[in-house]
Amino acid sequence: MAGKRKPKKNPEEWRIGEIRTEDLNASRESNAPNAPALPRATLKLTRTLKVINEMQAAGVIGRYAIGGAVGATFYLEPMPTMDVDVFVAIHPETGSSIITLKPIYDYLTARGYTAVGEALKVEDWLVQFLPPTGALAEEAIARARMVDVEGVPTFVFTAEHLVAVALETGRPKDKARILQFIDAEAVDQKALEEILGRHQMLEKWIRFRQQFLNGS
């Protein structure tokens, strides 16, 4: 007895997973150069930066600049980090000689942002506000370059100041970052040595080079 014959497939029909010509054509057209795509999500960091700029406008902080891994990302490839380091110029409160982050905490906690460890969670990012600990950091803030992050103006340490601050801090990860800057040739050696000279760090720099760069 003959087996049950399978019904003939209508040529107009097509299997799941096969692709229709008209859809392909539409897709090819869509890949034309300069075709605007659906807009991408806003960078979460821009919301954080907006809040910091508002703080500056309100006089809670003075000039500020981004350092650390986020600052280094401006010059190097992206590197993972959990927080953003913001160096801020803070002046002692009237009648006191102590520099404190209290005004920043007061301003942000009043707006619903919360402290997480040593940082504050501003919008989606953990922000560490760092007052300058010496002349080098003060200079780094003063000479920070202004950059535009998707329409939001902000300030980032120069590459040379990032290297100098990293050398001053001297943790293993800071040393690794210095090597990344040198490897990427992202630093103006002459400008760096001028900065290090101004802040009596040339000897430290020579030792670093001897240790990691074969004294070159």
Binding site: L24, E77, G112
Partner: protein, 684 residues
């Protein structure tokens, strides 16, 4: 350094140089992705309790590409090998948009179709990868990357194809939709049409969690755009649009203190709140459910909401019960708000509520835990009666009763009696429906519910008595507590006795109930005792098997049973003599054939009813053997060993008197009803 190492080193150097050359914004985007992966990765490790892995991800993805190839070539799915290596490949692909784009090209070598087939192919790959968080993220990244490559209107065309996918693929897509919605903004007008179309496609399916989470993520990541979507839905009337707009408004309202956003949102919220048409007003009211579930409902807001619902139209009040109940079910609601909501329900729940409102209230009440359970029980009682056809509500009632039975037995027995008095007739109808309340009845068996059932057996109302007899029969009860019997007056006792006469019970249950009545009947007048004795005799004639067996078991305790058995034994002896006489040997022409046909028809009716009622019979296919007494199965090209047929049977005793004297038995039931009426039972 050998040449291979040197090549790898050079390749890495080149990749780093390319990454350095990206615009700052683009680099920050990657950094944010790395940061999220880092957080998710750490959370995963914490869950597993593993040591952090220090291996760097492989630069190639051979396993992933193999799976993509299998997908494009429609090969059968099999379990993915080396899941940890595959996971590593996925992670490194996710970290690099260029590699994700390469994967899209590999998956669609002939171009991306702007049709459901795109999702079907991604879903196929998704299943090959295994259903987990990592594969969800990859499927989402593929969708996001594809949309990023398409022209805006074609991206929308592709997304518009999503509701046209068949199940279960559509619901699979919802699991990774959130990834796209976090990454990409949609044109507000498109989003205002697209989101409701997805809700419509979801329908009543409960697997909609992925969609609502994705929509909330969209509001969190693109709040300004979400406000625009909300404005597009300002004149909403469709249920799906209302649901979407309520979710968007409720989520946006709960976002953290972005004052700029709240300034933009406030006028839109006001517009919804004060709209002339019911649709936008419903959006406003329902949006508080989402706000509450996100833990941002304030006491003052909730008071305003309850006042608004109280002052609303009848339809709004009906919907209000659903809103208040959903708000109260929020796991993060404050105790203040809970008390406010509970007080509102206590003041407003009544028997006149619509079935939908009753469902909301009882569903909520069934989920309330102590110390609010007694209030919840009161709410259920206030919402009675519930009609038998509203099966969903009855399921919630059953859920509540089982919870109560398992956690607070005293409260259970108390509620059982109160609930029976509130809605006995409808409950009995539901209980008598096949497979309804099986869960509760199975839990009640073996528990000491005789006290509560006893109260129902001797209740003033006929429906409660019938319900009591149902429980007595179904739960195989054999006694009623002494304190219940001692409190009985003659009237209540007579009512229960006559109720049993006109109610159909199983033979053994009938016998056990009559035995329960013996001690109190012995305190009654002689007329009643005579009637009771006649009933014992009648039931012994009616059910000479089970009834006699039960009576024999308690013979020593009650001499009246011995007397009745002796009388009936004599009756059957006489009957035997009569049946053996020559007169009985005479046959009416056609009578044996008629009896045979009747028996066959009766057997068929019983078999059909058994099939309808039995869960087990429904599980198996019925196969009729044409000949032979053995059977075997043919499966995977082989014939199994022959099995013999097994015989098993069960039997049930039929009431004899119903066949011998149906008119007499009907008359007896009628007389029982007359007696009950005479006893002044006004609730007949």
């Amino acid at each position: 350094m050998n040449s291979e190492t040197s090549k790898t080193f050079e390749s890495k150097r080149q990749t780093r140089a390319e990454l350095r050359a990206l615009p700052f914004g683009e680099k920050l985007r990657i950094l944010e992705r790395l940061r999220e992966d880092l957080i998710i990765g750490l959370a995963d490790q914490r869950k597993r309790g593993d040591e952090p892995t220090r291996d760097s991800p492989s630069t190639t993805a051979p396993l992933l590409l193999d799976l993509v190839k299998e997908t494009t070539e429609h090969e059968p799915r099999h379990r993915a090998e080396s899941t940890s290596a595959l996971k590593e490949e996925i992670e490194s692909t996710l970290a690099d948009p260029k590699r994700t784009a390469d994967l899209v090209h590999a998956l669609f070598p002939n171009g991306v179709p702007l049709a459901p087939e795109f999702f079907e192919r991604v879903n196929d790959l998704h299943l090959r990868l295994g259903w987990n968080e990592t594969s969800n993220r990859l499927a989402g990244a593929l969708l996001d990357n594809t949309i990023g490559q398409l022209k805006a209107e074609n991206g929308e065309t592709l997304l518009a194809a999503l509701p046209r996918i068949g199940s279960p693929g559509f619901f699979q897509t919802l699991y990774y939709l959130g990834f796209l919605l976090r990454e990409r903004e949609l044109r507000p007008q498109f989003a205002a049409d697209w989101f409701p179309s997805l809700v419509k496609r979801i329908g009543n399916d409960s697997a909609s969690g992925g969609f609502w989470k994705a929509l909330e993520a969209y509001c969190e990541f693109h709040p300004q755009n979400a406000v625009e979507v909300l404005r597009c839905l300002a004149a909403t009337r469709d249920e799906e649009q209302i649901l979407v707009a309520a979710c968007v408004l409720g989520t946006l309202r709960s976002l953290n203190t972005d004052s700029a956003l709240q300034r933009v949102l406030a006028p839109t919220e006001l517009e919804f709140s004060q709209a002339a048409t019911p649709g936008p007003r419903a959006v406003y009211s329902r949006s508080w459910i989402h706000t509450a579930w996100r833990g941002k409902l304030e006491k003052a807001d909730f008071v305003a909401l309850t006042s608004r619902i109280s002052a609303g139209t009848k339809e709004e009040r009906d919907q209000g019960f659903g809103i208040i109940c959903r708000v109260l079910l929020s796991p993060v609601i404050s105790s203040d708000c809970f008390d406010i909501g509970m007080a509102w329900l206590q003041a407003n729940v009544s028997s006149s509520l619509s079935p939908a409102s009753k469902y909301s209230v009882i569903e909520f009440a069934a989920q309330v835990r102590p110390p609010g359970r007694s209030d919840a029980a009161a709410l259920i009682l206030s919402a009675q009666p519930v009609l038998p056809e509203h099966k969903g509500i009855w399921q919630r009632v059953e859920h509540f009763l089982v919870e109560l039975l398992q956690h607070d037995f005293a409260a259970f027995t108390d509620f059982l009696v109160k609930f029976a008095r509130a809605n006995a007739a409808n409950w009995l109808k539901v209980l008598k429906t096949a497979r309804e309340f099986e869960w509760l009845l199975s839990k009640m068996r073996g528990r000491d519910v005789a006290g509560a059932v006893g109260q129902l057996l001797f209740d003033e109302t006929a429906q409660c008595r019938k319900l009591g007899l149902f429980f007595f029969d179904d739960l195989d009860l054999a006694a009623v507590p002494k304190e219940v019997l001692e409190r009985l007056d003659e009237r209540r006792l007579a009512l229960a006795f006559y109720e049993s006469q006109r109610t159909s019970l199983h033979a053994a249950a009938n016998a056990r109930f009559l035995i329960v009545l013996i001690p109190p009947i012995e305190r009654m007048n002689s007329a009643m005792q005579g009637e009771f004795y006649n009933e014992l005799v009648l039931q012994l004639k009616n059910y000479p098997g089970a009834c006699r067996e039960e009576f024999l078991y308690r013979l020593r305790e009650f001499p009246i049973l011995q007397k009745a058995i002796a009388e009936v034994d004599a009756y059957f002896e006489q009957l035997k003599t009569a049946s053996e006489s020559g007169l009985a040997a005479m046959e009416v022409a056609g009578a044996p054939q008629a009896a045979k046909l009747h028996a066959r028809r009766f057997s068929r009716t019983v078999a059909k009813s058994a099939e309808e009622m039995s869960v087990f019979i429904k599980l198996f296919r019925k196969v009729r053997l044409l000949y032979g007494k053995q059977w075997s199965t043919f499966h995977d090209d082989s014939l199994s060993d022959a099995s013999s047929l097994q015989q098993f049977s069960s039997s049930v005793e039929m009431p004899r008197m119903e066949f011998i004297d149906p008119e007499g038995m009907n008359l007896r039931r009628y007389q029982a009803s007359v007696r009950i009426r005479e006893l002044g039972n006004t609730t007949e």
